[in-house]
């Protein structure tokens, strides 16, 4: 599971499992349940993990990849992503990494940018306790800030990654989030080509310091096409590419925002070139784990013993060209649940695939949620707005049916109270949408290409209308 705050699906899961205790266990489906009548708590089996083969090296990569972006912290209930200043709980990181390796996970994905730069260090500490050949490590050249665009700064960033990770080679190295920026092509060139960093990385691959070279992509499709063209022309061969793929983005990524590209296209392009795909955002930042009640019910009705989140993981894992599916697992119970899903993967049938990416995706699109997956790349807003927290609250109210525009509705007062009180709880007053000045600083950083100021102003107008107790006339997005 990718979403830390969200225990709903987990609760539902336990609930349905609780109901299931009296039933006879179906071992083929419920690979993780004990099947006795006293407990239904899942314990993932050892030695059952599904592996995929990297065509270049022939190495077997676990279908579940551990994303080190949302590490557990001391004294808080969130991850190091929610509370940037909280100290990372290294002991817990070690335990979870040990547990993951014991259950067959061998792919660990980090970046110099994660957890205020502390993720690589924590990952290095945890993995140094294991044999180097037991795991593959992926990190990125995360030169987002223009003051790291020089050749020297890029080299330094890469060398520092080796140092923090306590390794002398990296298994997978990515150009981090290409396709972003106001002029994505120009930004890509400034970050990797003009300064010779790409040449440097290719050179490192030849030396064996980087075993596989690839890129992670969000945003402008021109950059994606350009990089694949380089591959076709033999300028740079990509060993893998990391893309966003899930049952909502399969068809709808471009409809959610016309500057995005449907995952169907991205995967198709990689598949035709036999480039392995690494999947990020299988849960869209947790959004696909917490569906509006009527939709969640439909999914659960198909299989009461498996969570909504597990459907999303099986969906991503079913595509054969997928090398690994990344999940940022903050808590042990996230890890266990995902291990169960992939130990081994029970691939979805075509019918089930279309059920998700057509039937259910169609219905979810009706809800008009803002496609924010809480990646926080837009942050920090120079004026202190907590952009993702505002969007998360708005989406939560939308899926819970607490956005009601007509005062005549019998539910209006209840929804208004839930929205306003919840809003003040999730976002301090001075960080709320009404303080967005529309400077546009955030826009180019959003991998989902959300028109952030426009959406914030829309939400501010909605809040103002319900505060005044008037019918909301906020424009649709």
């Amino acid at each position: 599971m990718n979403n830390n705050k969200d225990n709903i699906s987990r609760r539902n899961f336990l609930k349905v499992l609780g109901l299931g205790t009296a039933a006879v266990a179906a071992p083929a489906i419920v690979s993780c349940a004990h099947g006795d009548k006293q407990s239904s708590e899942q314990e993932p089996p050892v030695g059952k993990m599904t592996y995929r083969t990297n065509p270049k090296t022939g190495e077997k990569v676990s279908l579940l990849g551990y994303g080190m972006m949302r590490l557990p912290t001391l004294d808080t209930n969130g991850s190091a992503r929610e509370d940037k200043d909280a100290e990372i709980d290294q002991e817990m990181v070690n335990r979870q990494v040990d547990y993951a390796i014991e259950h067959g996970v061998n792919y660990f994905d980090t970046s110099p940018a994660y957890c205020k730069g502390r993720s690589e260090h924590a990952t290095g500490v945890a993995l140094a306790r294991h044999k180097r050949e037991e795991f593959f490590i992926a990190t990125k050249l995360s030169n987002f800030s223009p003051d790291t665009w020089s050749h020297e700064a890029g080299v330094e960033m890469f060398q520092n990654s080796l140092k923090e990770l306590q390794v002398d080679y990296v298994d997978y190295l990515l150009l981090h989030a290409v396709g972003g920026g106001e002029d994505a092509m120009a930004e890509y060139r400034a970050r990797y080509e003009d300064n010779g960093i790409l040449d440097y990385l290719v050179e490192q691959r030849e030396k064996g310091v980087i075993r596989n070279l690839g890129f992670s992509y969000h945003g402008d499709i021109a950059v994606f096409d350009y990089l694949l063209q380089m591959h076709d022309e033999g300028k740079v061969k990509w060993d893998f590419v990391q893309i966003e793929l899930n049952w909502l983005d399969w068809h709808y990524a471009d409809e959610i925002n016309d500057e995005n590209t449907a995952a169907e296209y991205l995967y198709g392009e990689l598949d035709s070139r036999e480039i392995p795909a690494i999947i990020m955002e299988p849960l869209l930042g947790g959004r696909l784990a917490k569906l509006p009640d009527p939709i969640a019910k439909k999914v659960l009705a198909r299989d009461p013993e498996h969570t909504v989140a597990s459907w999303a993981f099986r969906y991503a894992g079913t595509y054969p060209r997928v090398l690994t599916v990344l999940s940022g697992m903050t808590f042990m119970h996230h890890l266990k649940e995902n291990l169960c899903t992939y130990s081994p993967l029970k691939a979805l049938t075509d019918d089930e695939m279309r059920f998700l990416d057509e039937t259910i995706a169609d219905e979810l699109m009706e809800y008009n949620t803002i496609p924010c997956n809480d990646c926080k790349y837009c942050m920090p807003c120079p004026y202190g707005i907590d952009i993702p927290a505002i969007f998360m609250h708005y989406n939560k109210c939308l899926t819970e049916g607490n956005i009601i525009r007509e005062t005549a509705s019998s539910e209006y007062d209840k929804a208004r109270r839930a929205f306003l009180i919840g809003y003040d709880r999730s976002v301090p007053k001075l960080r709320q949408a009404d303080h967005c000045i529309g400077c546009g600083h955030c826009v180019s950083h959003c991998p989902q290409r959300i028109r952030i100021p426009h959406e914030l102003h829309r939400i501010a107008a909605y809040v103002e209308s319900i505060k005044q107790g008037k019918d909301a006339t906020a424009p649709a997005h």
Binding site: Y114, Y383, G384
Partner: protein
């Protein structure tokens, strides 16, 4: 019997008014708002003839029962006095008539001359309001916030949390000193404050002299045991001469229940009795004021440093994190703002007793006690925590003195309490070169227009211009302005409110 009825009613009033002053949710005043409006001084200032006549009649019939039941400051003293368990600790003392008359005269002068702060200091109900608002409401809100945290844990919306902040240091100190002084006086001598300082007590005392019902001696039964005098918290029973000073008796009934010989009665006496003498005193209050200027300069300096640091950190290095938000420094308003419904600065100064009920109730944290010497502790507006929202008229609903007259939302959105002014030097459009227009976007009366900063260049950055004919001074622009610590747009008060 009289004592029991008195205690029951007093508890009801006391708890009711205290809850009214504690409540910040705007629910209780629909039921309890009248309790503030039947207070004597607020009724005088509101020219509320019905309440005044009723209170005068009440006193002429039953004596100073007002002081024992309706006045929360009086009941508070009884509570404090009751906590002192030492028995038979009071003695008769002659009245300090000169002091009482001087205090009364001061009050009259303050009302006539419109000296708001002097009036506020002497008003008993308002003193209690300040004590509750400054000393008790923070505790109340913290408890509420605890419950809100629990509610949040269970995803319930039954409670919401509210910020606790020091709205005015001088007012807090005055409330604290008032409480300490009155509590000490009450602990030692019962109703000393009421019978030496309180102008309402003096007025009602002289009325009570002529009350139909009163406590009187049955001289034939009295054995001069002194128990009545020793238990009179008003020190008004002279058992030796069988006289009671009715200007000071608050008809509490304690003496009746203490007398072992049934020698004291409450009712209409057959013959009238008189008695007066002089001695001793209690103590008044002190004011303390004005923030230390060096401290303010220091705070300001550190705020500026903090901004620089925050801006330096704002450059994008890693994903996530929140930029620091520097506290807004309130602007220096040439004319302070008064709430919609208060008609004018003069009307406010003349009618407000600074009971803090409006401050306690303001849901947007806009109202706070003034620090200005002439209007000390009377409400004024500032927009660091929120703005005066168009749908809210709560202060005008709760004001017991008529200082803020009742208005509805339609009237409210047409009353011009002030007008926005733009501070060119601070505007981010010019200093940081960003697009903004947040003031115009949030102006509820559409009084702000974005115009090119260079009149000759249509393409130049857009800056706000205020149409004063439409501006009502609600402060939305000031609240949402991103320039910190000094805002780029703020509201100047209108001395006399005008209407659109």
């Amino acid at each position: 019997m009289l004592r029991k009825i008195r205690i029951t009613l007093a508890v009801l009033f006391f708890v009711g008014i205290t809850l009214l002053l504690l409540d910040f949710t705007g629910t209780l005043h629909h039921w309890l708002g009248w309790m503030a409006k039947v207070q004597f001084l607020p009724a005088v200032l509101a020219l509320n003839a019905v309440v005044l006549v009723a209170l005068v009649l009440l006193t002429l019939v039953f004596g100073r029962i007002y002081c024992s039941v309706i006045c929360p400051l009086g009941v508070m003293q009884d509570v404090v006095s009751h906590l002192n368990r030492k028995k038979n600790r009071f003695t008769y003392s002659p009245a300090l008539t000169w002091l009482r008359l001087v205090m009364l005269a001061l009050m009259v002068v303050a009302i006539v001359a419109g000296l708001g702060s002097l009036m506020a200091l002497l008003a008993p109900y308002s003193s209690y309001g300040r004590i509750v608002n400054n000393l008790l409401q923070p505790l109340y809100i913290w408890c509420n916030n605890g419950l809100a945290a629990i509610a949040e844990h269970y995803e319930s919306y039954a409670f919401y949390s509210k910020e606790v902040w020091l709205k005015s240091l001088p007012t807090f100190l005055i409330a604290l000193v008032t409480f300490v002084v009155i509590a000490i006086l009450a602990w030692r001598g019962g109703r000393t404050y009421c019978n030496t300082i309180c102008p309402v007590g003096t007025v009602l005392g002289y009325l009570a002299k002529f009350s139909w019902f009163k406590v009187y001696f049955d001289t034939e039964k009295c054995r001069s045991c002194s128990l009545c005098s020793k238990n009179c918290k008003a020190s008004c029973i002279d058992f030796e001469n069988h006289t009671i000073d009715y200007t000071r008796c608050v008809t509490c009934g304690n003496c009746l229940s203490k007398c072992n010989f049934d020698a004291l009665h409450y009712g209409h006496p057959g013959k009238t009795e008189k008695a007066e003498r002089t001695e001793k005193t209690g103590n008044g209050e002190k004011t303390e004021g004005s923030q230390n200027p060096t401290r303010r300069a220091f705070l300001l300096g550190s705020a500026i440093v903090a901004t620089d640091v925050a801006l330096a950190q704002a450059g994008k290095k890693v994903d996530g994190g929140l930029a620091e938000i520097v506290d807004r420094t309130p602007p220096k308003r040439t004319t302070p703002l008064t709430p919609p419904g208060s008609v004018s600065a003069k009307h406010m100064a003349r009618h407000c007793t600074a009971c803090q009920l409006c401050v306690a109730q303001c849901p947007n944290d806009v109202l706070r006690p003034s620090g200005n010497l002439l209007t000390l502790m009377q409400p004024t507006l500032s927009y660091e925590h929120g703005f005066c929202r168009p749908e809210c008229t709560r202060c005008s609903e709760v004001c017991p003195t008529g200082a803020i007259r009742p208005i509805d939302t339609a009237q409210k959105t047409a009353i011009q309490v002030g007008h926005a002014v733009w501070v060119k030097e601070n505007c981010l459009v010019l200093t940081d070169g960003v697009h903004c227009g947040n003031c115009a976007r949030h102006c509820p009366s559409k009084a702000i227009m974005m115009v090119p900063s260079d009149p000759d260049d249509e393409e130049s950055p857009m800056v706000p211009a205020v149409d004063h004919s439409k501006c009502i001074g609600c402060g939305a622009c000031e609240y949402v302005c991103p320039a910190r610590p000094f805002g780029a747009i703020y509201v100047e008060g209108n001395e006399v409110h005008s209407s659109l």
